[in-house]
C-alpha cells in the first residue's frame, strides 16, 4: 500500500474528531479533509453517511437516543419514541426549532436486558415508561439529567 493510502485510512479518525469538535460534520470540513487525505469529497460523503455516528446537521444542545434493537422494539420502544416525538414536536432524526433537543434512533446499544432504553446526553435510562418521558425532558432542560432515577 502506498504512503498516501496509509493516510487515507485516517479518514474515520478525522471524521470522529470533527464530529466531536463541532457536534456535526460541516461542509468546509469535508473539503479540508479531502485536501488533506487526497480523497474526493463525494467519497468522504459516502463514508460519513454510512455511519450513524456522524451527523450532517448541528445537533441540539441535548441528544436523546432511543434504542430500536429487536429486544427494545418488542418491549415497547415505538411507544417511547411516539411519546418523545409528541412531547418535543419533532420526528425522530430531527432537532427542535429552539435547538435544544435532537431525537435519534439507533439499532441496539447492547443493553437488551434493560430495554426499552433511552439515552439522554449519555445517560442510560432502562426500562423506560412513557410517563417518564416528560420528566427526562424537564430534567434535561434544567440541566439536572443525572438526578433522574
Amino acid at each position: 500500500m502506498s504512503e498516501s493510502n496509509k493516510d487515507q485510512r485516517e479518514l474515520i479518525h478525522m471524521l470522529h474528531d470533527t464530529q466531536e469538535k463541532f457536534g456535526y460534520i460541516p461542509a468546509h470540513s469535508i473539503s479540508q479533509i479531502s485536501r488533506e487525505l487526497k480523497i474526493s469529497e463525494s467519497e468522504i460523503f459516502g463514508v460519513l453517511t454510512f455511519y450513524k455516528a456522524f451527523a450532517l446537521k448541528p445537533r441540539g444542545k441535548h441528544l436523546i437516543t432511543i434504542c430500536m434493537g429487536t429486544a427494545c422494539h418488542v418491549r415497547g420502544a415505538p411507544m417511547i419514541i411516539d411519546e418523545f416525538e409528541r412531547k418535543l414536536g419533532i420526528e425522530a432524526g430531527e432537532t427542535t426549532e429552539d435547538n435544544l433537543f435532537t431525537l435519534e434512533t439507533v439499532n441496539c446499544v447492547g443493553a437488551c436486558a434493560l430495554g426499552p432504553i433511552a439515552i439522554a446526553d449519555g445517560d442510560y435510562h432502562g426500562q423506560m415508561k412513557t410517563r417518564e418521558v416528560d420528566e427526562i425532558i424537564k430534567k434535561l432542560k434544567e440541566g439536572k439529567n443525572k438526578d433522574i432515577e
Partner: protein, 854 residues
C-alpha cells in the same frame, strides 16, 4: 492450465476470472455489475456458478480460474437462484412492463401504454429498450416478481448538463461509481447513505457541476439501466445506422461511433476499438458532435455580395465570381488563412492553391499558438531538430511525471487517463501550477508557482541537478559547458521569493526527478504562452536532457501535427498569422482568403475578402463571398493526432444543404482559374499527390493511409540532442496602479472552425463558458463583484466583455480569460490586439483593469 466449463475443456491463462473466460468462449452467464473496463465487484450476484468440490455459489466475475476447476454455469438450481436474485433487484426497479403478459403485443402497438403507472413501465423509459436489465429478464424468463414492489420515489436530478439521473431506476451495480473512480480519476459520485437508503450520490447531494464531474459521459455509457440518460436522445427514436469516425475537437483523435437516424446525427459514443481512447471520450466527443454538425449557425448556401448585401447564390455563380476576382491579384497582396482542423489533404490543397494559383507565400493558420509550434520554433532557432518520436501510451509507463502549464483532466482528458494509469501504478506526479487543480489529489508534490515565473523554477532545478551531478561522471552531452556557464550567470538568489516555492519543495522536486530513470515532462500553454515562452521551453528542454526525460508538448487542434508537417514543406518567408491581420487592417493586403478561424476584423482595409467556413461569424460583414464548407462528418480524409498517429476519418452523413467539402471548393476554384493540376475527384487522389510532395510523408504508403492507424514517426533514429544556453531578461509585463491585475489567457480549444462550442451548447456553457473572467474570491469581494455579473476588462490597447466567475483556487491579483478566435467581437480577447499577440506568437500575460458594465 485447464478448466472445464459446462463439460467443455478449456485452455486458460492464469489471473483471469471465470466470467472472462466463459465470455471469450461464448458461454453466456448473466451479469449486471461486471464491466470489461472495471475491476470485479461481485455486487449483483447474477453471475453465480457452481464449482465442483467448492461450497456455495461464488460469483464468476470475481472468482479466478484455477487449474482443473470444474465449473457449471446453467444448472436448474443456479437458474432458480438467479431468478430469485433478479426478482429482488426488480422489486426496486419499475418492472410492470417487463413481466406484463401483454408484453409481446404491446411491443408492437404500445397498446397498453397507459395501463401501467408511468414510473413503472419500460415503454416510458428514455433508454427505449437499450437496457441490460431487460436483456437479463428475457434470458432468465422472469414472468412474475414475488416480492412487493417498492418505488423509491427519489427526485429525478435534472439540474446538470447533458444527462438526467433518475435513481429510481438504479440497481446499485456501482459501475458508474467505479468508472468515475478507477478509469477517470474524478470520483464525483460515490455510494452514499446506508442499507435500504443507499444510493449513488455526490457530496452533500450537490449537483455534479459542483462535485468535480468532468461530464465525460463514461458513467452514462456503462449504466445498464435508464438511470443515467442522455438528455439529447431522450425523445429520439433508436438509431437506424451507426458509423465510425475520428473526433475533430482536439489533438487526441478519439475514435467515435456516431448514431444516425435518417442521415441525422443522434449522438456519439467513444469506440471500444479506438486505439487512442479505448472506449473513453470527453465531454466534447461524447455530447457535442451532434451540436457541431447540426448547429443552427451552419451556412448551407454560397453567398455573394451584390450591391452591398450578401445574397444567396448558386455554386456556379459564387465560384465564377470568386475565381474572376482572385485572378486580378497575384503575389504579396494576397494572404490565405487555413485551419488546423481540416484534413491533411485539405491543408495541403490550400497551400498548393496559394502557391500555384495565388502565387503567394502568405499562408498561415492558428497552429502557431500551440506549444508544439513554440517548441518547434525554439528548437530550430537553436540549430536543432525536434524529436517527437513518442506515443501517448508511453506516459502510462513513466515512473515520474512532471506536469506544467495545463490542467489536463479538463484540457486533455484522454492524456489524463494515461497519467492516472501511471500514478495508480506507483508513478510520482509533480504538478507546477498557480491554481489548485483537481488532479492534485493524485500528485506527490504540488509546486504552487506564481504565474510567469516558470523559467526561474526550471532553471533553479537545473542548477540543483548540476550540483548533484558534478560528482557523477555523466556522459557529456553537447553544449553542456555553455549551458553551465549560462546557468552560472543567472541570478537565482531570489528564486524562492519570485516563484513562491520553498527551498524544501524545490529540493523534493529535484529528488523525485533524480530518483527515476523514466520521467515524462508534459507541458502546455501555461508554459509556452508568455512573451518569454520560448525561453521557458528551452529551460524545460535542458532539464529534460539532464534527467533523460521525454518531453510531451500537449497538443491542441486535431490536425496540428499534420499541419506542422505540411508547413515544413513550404517557405516561411511570407507573412505569419499576426502579420497577415496587421496587414489586413493597415491596407498592405488587397485580398484575404479566410479558410480557417480568424480573429474578428475590426476594420477590413481590403479589396476582396473570401470566407470559406461552415458557420456564420462576424467577419461575414466584410466578406465579398462566402463559400459554405461541410464539416468533418460530411467528408473524409486524414488527420495526424498529437502523437503522430495517422488517422483516417470517414464520411458519416451527406453534406448538409449545399455545403461542400473544402477540398472540393478549392479544386473547383483552381480549375476555374485555369489550373490543370487540380484534377482531384476525391480526397484519396489528393492523398496520393500529397505523399509524393511532402517530404515527411514520403515513407508512408497509400495503403497505410487507407488502413489509417499507423504511427507516424519522422525518423526512427533519435535526433542528436544538445543543451541550449539560457538567456535571461526581465522584460515582462508588470502590474501598475492603473492596471492592477495580471490577466492570464487560456487558449481555448472549445471551438470548431468559427463555432464557439460553449456558445453553441448550453451544457458546455454551464461547465466552462469561454466568456468567463475568472477571479479570486478575495478580489471579487474587494470589488463587490458577484458570480455571473457582466464586467469589462481593459488593457492599454483595448477592452472586451465577460462574466465574473469566482474561482476559489485562483491567487489574488490574477485574472483568467479564454482566448478563442471564434468568439463574438464584444467578448473576444482579440479586442486587445495587437498587444495580445507578442512577436513570439504568445498570448502573454497582460496588465489589465476591470470594471462593472454599465
Amino acid at each position: 492450465m485447464k478448466v472445464i466449463i459446462d463439460g467443455k475443456k478449456i485452455e486458460v491463462e492464469e489471473k483471469r476470472t471465470i466470467l472472462e473466460v466463459a465470455r471469450e468462449k461464448g458461454i453466456f452467464i448473466p451479469s449486471l455489475c461486471d464491466h470489461p473496463q472495471l475491476t470485479p465487484f461481485g455486487g449483483c450476484r447474477l453471475c453465480i456458478v457452481e464449482i465442483k468440490e467448492k461450497g456455495g455459489y461464488p460469483p464468476s466475475c470475481s472468482t479466478y480460474v484455477e487449474n482443473g476447476m470444474e465449473i457449471k454455469t446453467k444448472t436448474p438450481r443456479l437458474q432458480e437462484l438467479r431468478r430469485e436474485i433478479l426478482e429482488l433487484i426488480l422489486s426496486e426497479h419499475p418492472n410492470a412492463c417487463l413481466i406484463c403478459s401483454e408484453k409481446e403485443n404491446c411491443d408492437e402497438y404500445k397498446s397498453t401504454i397507459r395501463k401501467v403507472g408511468e414510473v413503472t413501465g419500460c415503454v416510458l423509459c428514455s433508454n427505449n429498450g437499450r437496457c441490460e436489465l431487460q436483456d437479463v429478464v428475457e434470458t432468465l424468463k422472469i414472468d412474475k416478481v414475488r416480492f412487493p414492489s417498492v418505488y423509491r420515489n427519489l427526485e429525478v436530478k435534472k439540474g446538470d448538463p447533458f444527462f438526467d439521473r433518475d435513481y429510481n431506476l438504479c440497481i446499485l451495480c456501482g459501475r458508474c461509481v467505479r468508472v468515475c473512480q478507477e478509469v477517470r480519476g474524478a470520483s464525483a459520485v460515490s455510494f452514499v447513505y446506508r442499507g435500504s437508503q443507499a444510493v449513488v450520490g455526490t457530496v452533500l447531494d450537490l449537483p455534479l457541476l459542483e462535485s468535480g464531474c468532468q461530464f465525460c459521459g463514461a458513467c452514462v455509457d456503462v449504466c445498464p439501466t435508464g438511470s443515467l440518460a442522455e438528455r439529447g436522445i431522450r425523445y429520439e427514436d433508436l438509431p437506424d445506422e451507426r458509423a465510425t469516425t475520428i473526433c475533430p475537437l482536439c489533438s487526441m483523435g478519439c475514435e467515435l461511433k456516431i448514431d444516425l437516424k435518417r442521415q441525422k446525427i443522434l449522438g456519439s459514443k467513444p469506440s471500444d476499438e479506438g486505439a487512442v481512447n479505448e472506449g473513453q471520450a470527453c465531454v466534447k466527443g461524447r455530447f457535442l458532435i451532434k451540436d457541431v454538425v447540426h448547429s443552427p449557425r451552419r451556412i448551407l448556401k454560397p453567398l455573394v455580395r451584390v450591391n452591398k448585401e450578401l445574397e444567396e447564390a448558386s455554386w456556379e455563380e459564387a465560384l465564377d465570381f470568386v475565381a474572376q476576382r482572385l485572378k486580378k491579384f497575384k503575389g504579396k497582396k494576397i494572404a490565405l488563412i487555413a485551419s488546423p482542423q481540416v484534413s491533411c489533404e485539405e491543408y495541403f490543397l490550400l497551400h498548393k492553391f496559394a502557391s500555384e494559383e495565388l502565387k503567394t507565400e502568405n499562408v498561415d493558420s492558428s497552429y502557431r499558438f500551440s506549444p508544439l509550434a513554440v517548441f518547434d520554433k525554439m528548437v530550430k532557432e537553436n540549430g536543432l531538430e525536434l524529436d517527437l518520436n513518442f506515443e501517448i501510451k508511453d506516459i502510462s509507463r513513466a515512473k515520474t511525471l512532471f506536469l506544467i502549464g495545463e490542467d489536463i483532466p479538463k484540457s486533455h482528458p484522454i492524456i489524463w487517463l494515461e497519467v492516472l494509469k501511471a500514478v495508480k501504478g506507483g508513478a510520482k506526479l509533480i504538478v507546477a501550477s498557480p491554481a489548485e487543480l483537481s488532479l492534485n489529489r493524485y500528485s506527490a508534490l504540488w509546486l504552487q508557482i506564481k504565474p510567469g515565473t516558470e523559467f526561474y523554477l526550471l532553471s533553479f532545478l537545473s542548477k540543483l541537478f548540476l550540483q548533484k551531478e558534478q560528482e557523477a561522471d555523466h556522459p557529456r552531452i553537447e553544449g553542456f559547458d555553455s549551458f553551465k556557464d549560462s546557468l552560472d550567470e543567472l541570478d537565482l538568489s531570489k528564486v524562492f521569493e519570485m516563484t513562491g516555492i520553498t527551498r524544501e519543495e524545490l529540493k523534493e522536486a529535484s529528488e523525485l526527478l533524480l530518483e527515476t530513470e523514466n520521467a515524462a515532462f508534459l507541458f502546455g500553454m501555461g508554459l509556452t504562452q508568455h512573451p518569454w515562452g520560448s525561453r521557458n521551453v528551452a529551460a524545460l528542454w535542458n532539464l529534460a536532457l539532464q534527467t533523460q526525460a521525454q518531453l510531451f508538448p500537449l497538443g491542441l487542434e486535431n490536425n496540428l501535427r499534420g499541419v506542422s508537417e505540411i508547413e515544413q514543406n513550404y517557405s516561411d518567408k511570407g507573412l505569419n498569422f499576426n502579420q497577415i491581420f496587421q496587414a489586413a487592417s493597415s491596407g498592405d493586403l488587397k485580398v484575404l482568403y479566410l479558410a480557417g478561424p480568424a480573429p474578428y476584423l475590426k476594420k477590413a482595409n481590403l479589396e476582396f475578402l473570401v470566407i470559406q467556413d461552415s458557420f456564420t461569424n462576424e467577419n461575414f460583414k466584410f466578406a465579398d463571398a462566402v463559400l459554405p464548407a461541410s464539416t468533418f462528418a460530411e467528408t473524409e480524409g486524414t488527420f495526424i493526432n498529437g502523437e503522430g498517429r495517422l488517422q483516417k476519418f470517414n464520411k458519416v452523413i451527406d453534406p448538409l444543404g449545399e455545403a461542400k467539402p473544402d477540398w472540393w471548393i478549392i479544386t473547383q476554384l483552381a480549375r476555374r482559374m485555369g489550373n490543370k493540376g487540380f484534377h482531384f475527384k476525391n480526397p484519396s487522389e489528393i492523398t496520393k499527390e500529397m505523399i509524393k510532395i511532402v517530404p515527411s510523408f514520403s515513407n508512408i504508403s497509400y495503403t497505410d493511409l487507407e488502413k489509417g492507424q499507423k504511427i507516424f514517426t519522422q525518423e526512427e533514429t533519435r535526433k542528436e540532442r544538445s543543451f541550449i544556453p539560457l538567456k535571461y531578461s526581465d522584460s515582462h509585463h508588470k502590474k501598475s496602479k492603473k492596471y492592477p491585475f495580471l490577466m492570464f489567457l487560456d487558449y481555448s480549444l472549445d471551438y470548431y472552425r468559427s463555432l464557439s462550442l460553449s456558445q453553441e451548447s448550453r451544457g458546455l456553457k454551464a461547465i466552462r463558458d469561454s466568456r468567463w473572467i475568472k477571479i479570486s474570491p478575495e478580489d471579487a469581494e474587494k470589488l463587490n463583484l458577484e458570480e455571473g455579473e457582466s464586467i469589462v476588462v481593459e488593457s492599454s490597447s483595448g477592452k472586451f466583455k465577460g462574466f465574473v466567475k469566482i474561482v476559489k483556487s485562483l491567487p489574488k491579483g490574477i485574472l483568467g480569460a479564454s482566448f478563442l478566435l471564434s468568439e463574438d467581437s464584444d467578448f473576444s480577447v482579440s479586442g486587445l490586439i495587437p498587444s495580445v499577440f507578442q512577436e513570439s506568437h504568445s498570448l502573454g500575460m497582460l496588465p489589465v483593469k476591470i470594471k462593472r458594465e454599465k
